[in-house]
Structures are given as structure tokens and as C-alpha cells.
Amino acid sequence: MNDQQWNTLVAAVRGETLRPLPTAFIIDSPWLPNWAGHTILDYFTDDRVFLEDNLRAIRTFPETIFLPGFWSEYGMCTEPSAFGSVSMWGEDEFPFAKKVLHSPSEVERLEKPDPRKNGLLPFVIKRLQHLQPQIEAAGHKIRFAVARGPLNIASFLMGTPEFLEATRTDPELMNRLLDIITDFLVEWVAYQREVFPSIDGIMLLDDIVGFISRRDFEAFGLPYLRRVYSADVAVKFFHNDAPCKASAPLLESAGINLLNFGVQHTLADMKTWTSNRIALVGNVPPRDVLAEGTAEDVKQSVGEILSPIEDRTRLIVSCGGGMPPHAPTENIRALISAVEELTR
């Protein structure tokens, strides 16, 4: 992300009036390598492919912001690998992290990983260090420390149904698990900030928040998110594209000031539930419209999501979730130009 884009992002978070409205997209392995003509595994394993694909995206769409920008990741395996989870790879498939905890009681033997030494985390850092000169030569900087959220990591370590059931049957052990994960996440974020001083944002992704009630979010989500987001950075970005009616009113108290959400709710409802105190990133339907619709469908969808919104502060137009697989260039261009046209 270049300086101008970062300043736009911060201005949106602060609630400044922006015309036209900014656009932004979370881009990562589900979309970027295939869009650029590479396999997912090549994208993960070849730093040149990673750099080339990211540079191609920012040069193809210079008007938009990519979040987090040059995201060094290994899909869902990144953080679970540090806990000893086996990573499963396919040539052009999303990697999968196998669970490491087979009963709630196994939490007792779980150790907090060292983000400097364990799993794929040193690879995440080294990739960005190796490419930092080229990224900066392109006018961009590494702005975000990124991680999967605590509930998301817990669900990979245990299995999602098993973890969610255990919040009922073994709540103390699940709080213990989330404590260990959060201690690790705080260190992981701090380490990324230490290595890249240009970082002034935290991005966490946690769809499991969307599966639980407000009461459970207060018990198993909020305290942990609050700890990770307590770091002193300008942008505290959260992604949950599962339902978020139950959690939305509480996200600000976790410190979150930027939110990418799904298509289950309207922008208007989200503005109400967050009291317009969190900048929203959304929410053109990613699969049905951005990936599978026509450019005209995209334009119409942008109009539909924006027309009911009178107060357009704290608003960044995007899709409801990350950039979906196979979203074509013309549809992304259509979204960007529709926003420029409609919000000039």
C-alpha cells in the first residue's frame, strides 16, 4: 500500500468525508495466483511469483487499495503450523491445517509457539524481508501485521464442531486454549511490527465469530480480540464474512475501527449496529456478483448497496468478504468505476 492509499484508509477510519468513496479489496491466495496465471502452490513457494502477482495486481488496479497489501500467507495453515498442525498442500488447492487437539483435555499439554522459530511463521517474515526492497521500490510499504483470529485458530487446532461443542462442555479449557492462542498472537503481531516498522495496522480474520451468540462472543471472543488489538496502531482491521449481527455492536469495544463483513447484512444495518463508529468495507456479493455476474450486474449492485446510505462517512466499497476466486478483471474495474461515478 502506498502512502496515498494508506492516508485514504486512515481518513476513512477517522470518519472524514471522502469523494469519491475509496474502494478496497482483501486479496490473497484464493484469488490472486489464479487471476495472475499461476497455481496456488507456486504462489506459496516461489517468492518471485508472489512478488510478480502482487505487483501485477497493484499495477492493473492502481485506483484501489489492496488489503493488507503484499500479504505473506500460507492460507489457513499459517498460524496453526506454529502449533504443530500438519499442513496439507495441493498444486492448485487451498491448503488445509489438520487438527492437533483430539479432545478438550489435550489443551493442557499445548505449548505457546515462538513466532520467531515455529511453523511457517519465519517463512512469512523472511519472504517479506527478501522482497522488501522491490516492494518499496514500487512505492509500497508493509502496513499491516496480519493473523487469523483466536477463534479461527482454535477451530483449526481442534476442528470447528469439536471446538464449538467444547465451549459448552469444557468452557474453562476452551478459555485456557484461547488464552494460549492469544498470548501467541500478541507476540506474533509484536514481532511483525518489530521487523517492519512501517506497520501501523493490525488485521485479524475470524469467521468463527459469526457462528456464535452475543453471549458466547462476550465469553470466548471479545476479551481475546481486545488483547490483540490493544497494540498502539492507527488501523485495527477485522474480517468476518459470516453473520455478524450478534458481534457487531461489541466490535468497537474490542478496539476495531475497520470491518470487512459478509453479504448477510446490509450496509445500513451494519452502520446502525456499529453506531457508525467503525469504518465498513463492503459489501457487493463476492461470488454471485463479482465473480459470476457481468460488469453490468456489478454496477447495479454497487448502486443498490449505496443508494440507501445517506451518511457515507466511514465507508469503503468492496465485496462482502475477500476477493472471491475467479473474479475477472472487468468486474473489478466495473466496481471501481461505478463507485467513482456514483460518489464523485
Binding site: 488447492e93 464449538l164 457462528f211
Partner: protein, 217 residues
């Protein structure tokens, strides 16, 4: 007849030990296993599904009610076998080849069992030939295919084609579901049914089999 409201309440609230205790008490008081299912479990799980659809219940609540139901079935299964009662229909479920996600499939399995269906869960990353083999081994009325990833959706079509190639397509109804699946996609691959949520799958399965009750005597 013995009042089944405490059993229904325990299932709805996901109280596993209270559910099994209520089931045992009902059986001791002469409630027939079939009545316990049709008047206890099935309406309770229907209520759980309704609460989930209305946003009152979330995934953990659904999972705990499903677990309570499963435990009651452990008690009922041998008793039902003695009476000769048959489940509404038999469903084979699995997450398709290349896809390792199980939460949607597990929820569907739980809701179907709660609705009186017998479920064989083939697990995750199930190749087309394994679905076909399961149906050959034990004929079923419905095959349920789950996928979470857009990259694994094509395996649904491959599975349907495998049933066609094996000459079994007309013998089973195939329903599909999962986050990236739509009715349009289901129609395009020749599936017989699509359900947007785990709770709605029970109704879909009943429509596909032309049944409306939990268990057939």
C-alpha cells in the same frame, strides 16, 4: 401417556445428560420407542431448527441439541430394531473429494438424524467412487454432498456423473449444499435438491422422499 415435554425441553436446550435421563424415564413409563421419536425428538429438533433459522440459536446450540439427540438414539436404536420400525429413509452423506471441511456436513447429519432419518456419514474428502460404493453396499434413498470451497464444487458434478455411470442415478435422490452452492448451481449439475441451511435440509429430504413423519412403523 407419559409427558414428553421434559425430554423435548432437554433436547432443545442441548442438555445431553438430562435428555438421556428423560428418554430412559419415558421408556420405563411405557412410552414406545417410536412415539418417543415422533413425539419427542422430531418436534424438539424441528424447534431447534426453527430457532436457528430465526437467529435465536447459533452453531454451538445446534451442535449440543444434535449431540443430545445422538445419545438418545444410542438408547433407542436396539429397541427400534426389535419393533421392526424403519427410519423414514436412509441418507448417505459426505464432503466431496478434495474438501476437508466438516461443519456443514456434521450439522446436516445431526439435523437429519433428529428428523428421523438414518444417516451414514462417509466423512470428508470422499471420492465419487466411495459414494457409489456405499450405495451399492447398502441401498439408500438419498445421497447428500457437501462442499465449502469453490474449487471442490466440481467434485459434486463428478459424483453425480459417477452415479449415472454406475447405473444408479435413478435409484437415489441427490441433494447438495455448502457455502458456495446455489440453487442455480445445483440445477446446473443435475442435483435433485439444494438446501441453504442445515435446518432446512430435513424438509428437503422429506420432500425428496415424499415423507412427512419421523419414522415409519
Amino acid at each position: 401417556m407419559h409427558d414428553l415435554s421434559s425430554l423435548r425441553k432437554a433436547v432443545i436446550e442441548g442438555e445431553v445428560s438430562a435428555s438421556t435421563a428423560a428418554a430412559r424415564l419415558a421408556l420405563e413409563n411405557g412410552v414406545q420407542p417410536l412415539d418417543l421419536m415422533s413425539q419427542g425428538i422430531v418436534p424438539a429438533m424441528a424447534e431447534v431448527g426453527k430457532l436457528f433459522e430465526e437467529g435465536e440459536y447459533f452453531v454451538p446450540e445446534l451442535l449440543m441439541s444434535a449431540r443430545a439427540t445422538k445419545e438418545i438414539f444410542q438408547i433407542l436404536r436396539p429397541l427400534l430394531a426389535q419393533t421392526g420400525a424403519q427410519p423414514t429413509a436412509h441418507v448417505v452423506l459426505g464432503t466431496v473429494r478434495g474438501d476437508l471441511h466438516d461443519i456443514g456436513k456434521n450439522l446436516v447429519a445431526a439435523m437429519l438424524e433428529g428428523g428421523g432419518f438414518e444417516v451414514t456419514d462417509l466423512g470428508v474428502d470422499v471420492p465419487p467412487e466411495a459414494f457409489v460404493a456405499a450405495v451399492k453396499k447398502n441401498p439408500v434413498e438419498i445421497v447428500g454432498l457437501s462442499a465449502l470451497l469453490t474449487t471442490t464444487m466440481p467434485a459434486m458434478k463428478a459424483t453425480i456423473e459417477a452415479f449415472r455411470a454406475a447405473g444408479l442415478r435413478d435409484q437415489v435422490k441427490i441433494m447438495v449444499g455448502g457455502a458456495p452452492i446455489t440453487q442455480k448451481y445445483a440445477d446446473s449439475i443435475g442435483a435433485d435438491g439444494y438446501s441453504e441451511s442445515a435446518a432446512a435440509t430435513v424438509e428437503l429430504a422429506r420432500r425428496l422422499t415424499g415423507t412427512c413423519h419421523g419414522v415409519s412403523p
